[in-house]
């Protein structure tokens, strides 16, 4: 019988390397981690687990904030501009500002983008 490898043996998800229905594959997480800097070399077995889960939580949270923008624009389709608006309106998402400025098209201001103080305060909660 095949013995499980380093990740699959220690995960309830078995050989797929996932820790749950929505979890990212750990090998991919680890690859992305290694590209975070030239001096990122060694990563413990647990660190990708925490990163993977953190990333899930993050995607869910930024989805929520982008959705709030969609709602404010009284739309039912979530646009890339809603993601951009969520980034701009949330301080701790400042690290994403470059992504937004690369993608952010000039017409976003007309896309129901709400940056009223109330909207920003809501997102800061």
């Amino acid at each position: 019988m095949r013995q499980a490898g380093i990740y699959s043996a220690i995960l309830p998800g078995g050989v797929s390397g996932k820790a749950g229905p929505h979890s990212f594959p750990l090998a991919r997480i680890k690859k992305i981690m290694k590209k975070s800097g030239d001096d990122v070399k060694m990563i413990s077995g647990e660190a990708p687990i925490v990163l993977s889960k953190a990333c899930e939580l993050f995607v869910e949270e930024i989805t929520r904030k982008a959705w709030m923008m969609t709602m404010q624009g009284k739309r039912r389709i979530l646009h890339k501009e809603d993601v951009a608006s969520a980034v701009i309106a949330t301080d701790i998402y400042d690290f994403l500002v470059n992504m937004v400025s690369d993608d952010h098209s000039a017409n976003s201001e007309h896309e129901g983008l709400s940056t009223t103080p109330a909207a920003i305060m809501d997102l800061e909660r």
Binding site: K41, F58, L78
Partner: protein, 165 residues
């Protein structure tokens, strides 16, 4: 629940210009998983009306996740180096989360990590002999997704915590 993902011709054209993963190029998060996370979250948020998501928006979510991992990892790396250690561990990541102001993630992540450790302890005590034999023999990983950095893999195995030994 119907999977309604609105993709217009424009959406497709823009998505095509986004760099795709090629060997050695930017690794991205798996699209299907990102999509599922986003769609499930939206269905919780909006129970009456169904929210569709443009493909470009999904790409933006995916890219955000990737950059978040970079940001969190490099912060954790700094914390690790400041403690004169070489191997980024789970605690470094937890501290990094606090440092970048994602405080609300700390509790759920601790719970998740604890659960993982308990599961791992249970499995390890059951099969530690078998695993020892496996390690002493050849290292066989499935070709597709699993670890490829043999040297780092070996080093992190002998790392501080949570490793497979």
């Amino acid at each position: 629940m119907a999977e309604k993902e609105k993709v217009t011709q424009n959406g497709d054209a823009t998505a095509a210009s986004v760099p795709q993963t090629t060997a050695g190029e930017t690794e991205e998060l798996p699209k299907t998983i990102v999509r599922r996370l986003v769609k499930d979250k939206l269905s919780h948020l909006s129970t009456e009306s169904e929210i569709s998501v443009f493909r470009e928006a999904l790409q933006a979510f995916s890219e955000s996740g990737r950059i978040f991992i970079h940001y969190l990892t490099s912060t954790a790396n700094d914390i690790c180096k400041e403690s004169n250690r070489q191997i980024i561990n789970a605690e470094d990541v937890m501290k990094a989360l606090e440092e970048i102001d994602f405080l609300e993630f700390v509790e759920p992540l601790r719970a998740s990590l604890e659960e993982f450790r308990q599961r791992n302890a249970g499995k390890r005590s059951g099969s530690s002999k078998a695993k020892e034999a496996d390690r002493k023999g050849k290292r066989k990983e499935p070709p597709a997704a699993e670890a490829e950095d043999e040297q780092d893999e070996a080093k992190s195995d002998e790392g501080e915590d949570g490793s497979d030994d």
